[in-house]
């Protein structure tokens, strides 16, 4: 499967009378965009705001972030199972509005939604302070059940990203990156002397607003399976999560999975990257046992010599991470784990809920409990009072002057467990 990713660099975003991309500027017809995303009776109102890097703007509570993309050649379309039919994606050519991002906000859905600051201390911790953000402020009708609220807002984000992505369909990309993975036996034979590596991609699936979807299927209901890495670049995996903002994978991060990108960087040089195994993080022990058994079996079946395993979330999924590590290492297959830590505000507590001596190679995205003071911002998009109730915030987090004291857990993408960010932690 071969995918050309054509990146159109977006350096600014403006409202205009026509939605188009010109000289690196994304112009948006606001009415047309609103028309495109409206129609769901469950939402009372939708509005669009812009937030650019360096502006004194805070977006809170952030539900999801999505990248505008469009399929130019090849089967299917972006977000199969949601926006497009369920054709297999990941081949042909896809255009990306790199530097633009759709952000969804509005009344809080779950407890665990995030903050994006476009400037100041908080901006250092989120990758979405560097993107030109098209913010969709979605307000639900009264008494809407949370799971329906989540679904409605999720769809608005996908629709907006596809609508904006289409503006790049006929634009010549600034950069084209080609990713290719062959059918397994051919891929193995292509670099017979290089160690075969798979990526074990753990998807948050604890349920109750902790959900991830694969081609429209709830990941709770999958058994671990094998995918071509390029499928994710077309939105085959999307977020339906309202879990802690710091270490969930927003849809944007799934579409740009950095472990996949960086494995491709070494592909054919030091390693033979043969593909991805996706697995889940269900809450029942039998599910955990089944999924980790199945994952280890697949890694072995594919003949891998080594694997990177990334977690999503913390606490309960630490058990899945440890099971995956143990069972894969027991087969003599080397692993590197990517996780984050909850070591307490003073950094002195036990970082993970589970542990294994076999996990001797761990990349950490930092301690999510560390406190941060976010300065007041001139403009708030969304509802700032959410600061006291989102995960990582506490009563009194929001101060009178508009500053927020909270754990970095509140910041969208702060401790990305697919290594999208630069944060890490050291022992002292």
């Amino acid at each position: 499967m071969r995918l050309e990713l054509g990146k159109i660099f977006i350096k600014d975003v403006q409202f205009s009378d026509e939605t188009r991309v010109e000289n690196g500027i994304l112009y948006i017809n606001k009415e047309e965009l609103l028309k495109e995303v409206s129609g769901d009776e469950r939402l009372r109102s939708i509005d669009v705001e812009l937030a650019k890097p360096g502006e004194e703007v805070r977006i809170i509570p952030v539900k999801d972030v999505i990248e505008p993309r469009v399929k130019v050649e090849g089967k299917g379309g972006i977000f199969p199972g949601f926006i497009s039919k369920v054709d297999t994606v990941g081949s042909g050519r896809t255009h990306v509005l790199k530097g633009a991002a759709v952000v969804t906000t509005g009344k809080i859905v779950g407890f665990q939604e995030g903050i994006i600051d476009m400037t100041g201390e908080g901006a250092k911790y989120t990758p979405f302070s560097k993107t030109n953000n098209i913010v969709l402020v979605c307000e639900p009708v009264d008494n809407l059940p949370q799971h329906e609220h989540e679904e409605a807002v999720r769809m608005v984000g996908f629709k907006a990203a596809c609508y904006l992505g289409r503006a790049g369909k006929n634009v010549e990309p600034d950069e084209i990156k080609v990713y290719e993975t062959l059918p397994l036996l051919e891929q193995v034979n292509m670099y017979p002397h290089l160690p075969k590596v798979v990526y074990v991609y753990m998807l948050q699936s604890q349920g109750l607003l902790h959900d991830t979807y694969v081609y429209g299927v709830d990941a709770k209901k999958i058994i671990p399976t094998f995918i071509y890495p390029t499928e994710v670049f077309d939105g085959a995996i999307v977020s339906g999560n309202c879990v802690s903002a710091c270490d969930k994978n927003p849809t944007y991060v799934h579409m740009n999975n950095p472990i996949i990108e960086d494995l491709y960087e070494r592909h054919g040089k030091d390693i033979n990257f043969i593909g991805c195994i996706i697995t889940n993080e269900n809450v029942y022990l039998a599910d955990k046992e089944r999924s980790s058994n199945y994952t280890a079996k697949l890694v072995e079946f594919l003949g891998a010599d080594a694997a990177i395993i990334s977690e999503e979330g913390f606490g309960n999924p630490d058990a899945d991470l440890v099971m995956n590590c143990n069972k894969i290492e027991e087969k003599g297959i080397k692993t590197v784990l990517v996780t984050d830590e909850y070591a307490g505000r003073d950094g002195a507590s036990q970082s993970l809920a589970d542990s294994t001596p076999k996990g001797d190679a761990v990349v950490t995205a930092g301690n999510a409990n560390e406190l941060i003071l976010l300065p007041p911002m001139k403009k708030i998009i969304g509802h700032v009072e959410a600061a006291d109730i989102i995960a990582g915030g506490f009563a009194g987090s929001l101060r009178e002057d508009g500053s927020i004291e909270a754990e970095i857990q509140v910041i969208t993408g702060a401790t990305s467990e697919v290594g999208f960010g630069y944060l890490s932690a050291k022992g002292f």
């Binding site: 160690p195 950095p258 080594a306 001596p357 697919v418 944060l423 890490s424 022992g427």
Partner: protein, 347 residues
């Protein structure tokens, strides 16, 4: 001038060996023993004004009293810094150094520092509270330890930023601090994987704690013919504690013959353990080591036999590494003696 008070045990304070371990704390003006090298290592930036010497047994057995007496002694000198040891692998000395450092830090709010070997039981007890320079396991390591202690002490007193355990030479305190790395996490993961595959050296960013889980053995099939032994970390010893097992951070375990013993009484057995109220164990040690019940089961034919020897140590403040060693040794002997099952009791 930065004023320093130094703490030493009876041995390093040049009073004597184990026979002097009971001495009460006293003060000597200036430095003595390892204090001489330490004072020199300060290169004129700090001065040891007094040394407090206390016997290891005295401190262990009278901790509350010793702490307060020593604190009063220290106060008189209004020091800017307090240093204890280094204690190397001496268990009671390590505990005393850690304990007094923490007490001084909490009460006088001045920087404190000590040094120990990684397996000293004082490390696990106090590393979260104080800086402990990592030393060798005996006084042979004095020459390595002193410059590191002096350097870190000066940094602490001057309020300089303290670097990582590797750069400063202290034992990791288990405190996690965030920083922004040069590369994004995914690239760090791929780089680490490639190194691991190639067998090259790599450094994990997070050391997973080793909980040392033990898989339970399958149940005994033929319990009526099984030879069963008793092993305890509850410190039950024949009256008088013949092996002098320490009340805390035990340096040994004992093996005791219970042939013909049907009941442990207050006249015959007691506990050496210093970590719990011993009244009920001393009244009837069967409460910790159930010899009486097992003798009954033996008589009724419900078990094969009770092993002739029981093993005992004190689990109070005992370093995991030591405990593991005792466990391995005890297990070897039990297997050799044909024991099929062990009842492990703690407190």
């Amino acid at each position: 001038m930065i004023k320093v008070v130094h703490y030493l045990n009876q041995f390093f304070g040049q009073v004597g060996g184990e026979e002097k371990a009971h001495i009460e704390p006293f003060v000597k003006e200036g430095f003595i023993g390892p204090g001489m090298a330490l004072n020199a290592a300060f290169k004129g930036q700090a001065q040891i004004v007094a040394t407090i010497i206390c016997g290891d047994s005295y401190y262990a057995e009278n901790e509350e009293k010793a702490k307060n007496t020593i604190l009063e002694m220290i106060k008189k000198y209004e020091p800017d810094l307090f240093i204890a040891g280094p204690a190397f692998n001496a268990g009671r000395y390590g505990n005393a150094c850690g304990s007094i450092c923490k007490y001084v830090k909490d009460n006088l709010n001045i920087p404190v520092l000590t040094g120990m070997y990684i397996e000293n039981p004082g490390v696990d007890l106090y590393k979260k509270d104080i800086y402990i320079i990592s030393t060798k396991d005996s006084a042979v390591g004095m020459r390595d330890a002193i410059p590191k202690m002096a350097a870190l002490a000066l940094k602490l007193i001057n309020n300089e930023e303290i670097g990582t355990p590797e750069t400063e030479g202290y034992i990791e305190r288990g405190i996690r601090k965030n920083y922004f790395a040069q590369e994004r996490g995914s690239k760090r993961a791929v780089d680490m994987l490639v190194k691991k595959i190639k067998g090259e050296e790599f450094k994990t960013e997070f050391k997973m704690p080793d909980f040392d889980r033990v898989e339970p053995n399958p149940p005994i099939v033929d319990i009526k013919n099984a030879k069963i032994a008793l092993v305890t970390s509850g410190g039950i010893v024949p009256k008088g504690n013949p092996d002098k097992i320490e009340s805390s951070s035990a340096s040994k375990f004992g093996k005791y013959d219970i042939e013909g013993v049907f009941d442990l009484t207050s006249e015959t057995y007691e506990t050496a353990h210093g970590g719990y109220d011993p009244v009920y164990a001393n009244k009837d040690a069967d409460r910790v080591l159930p010899v009486d019940v097992l003798r009954e089961l033996e008589k009724e034919g419900k078990i094969g036999s009770l092993h002739r020897y029981y093993y005992s140590t004190v689990g109070n403040g005992t370093a995991v590494a030591n405990a593991k060693r005792y466990g391995q040794k005890i297990a070897e002997e039990l297997i050799k003696d044909g024991v099929q099952a062990v009842i492990l009791t703690s407190t």
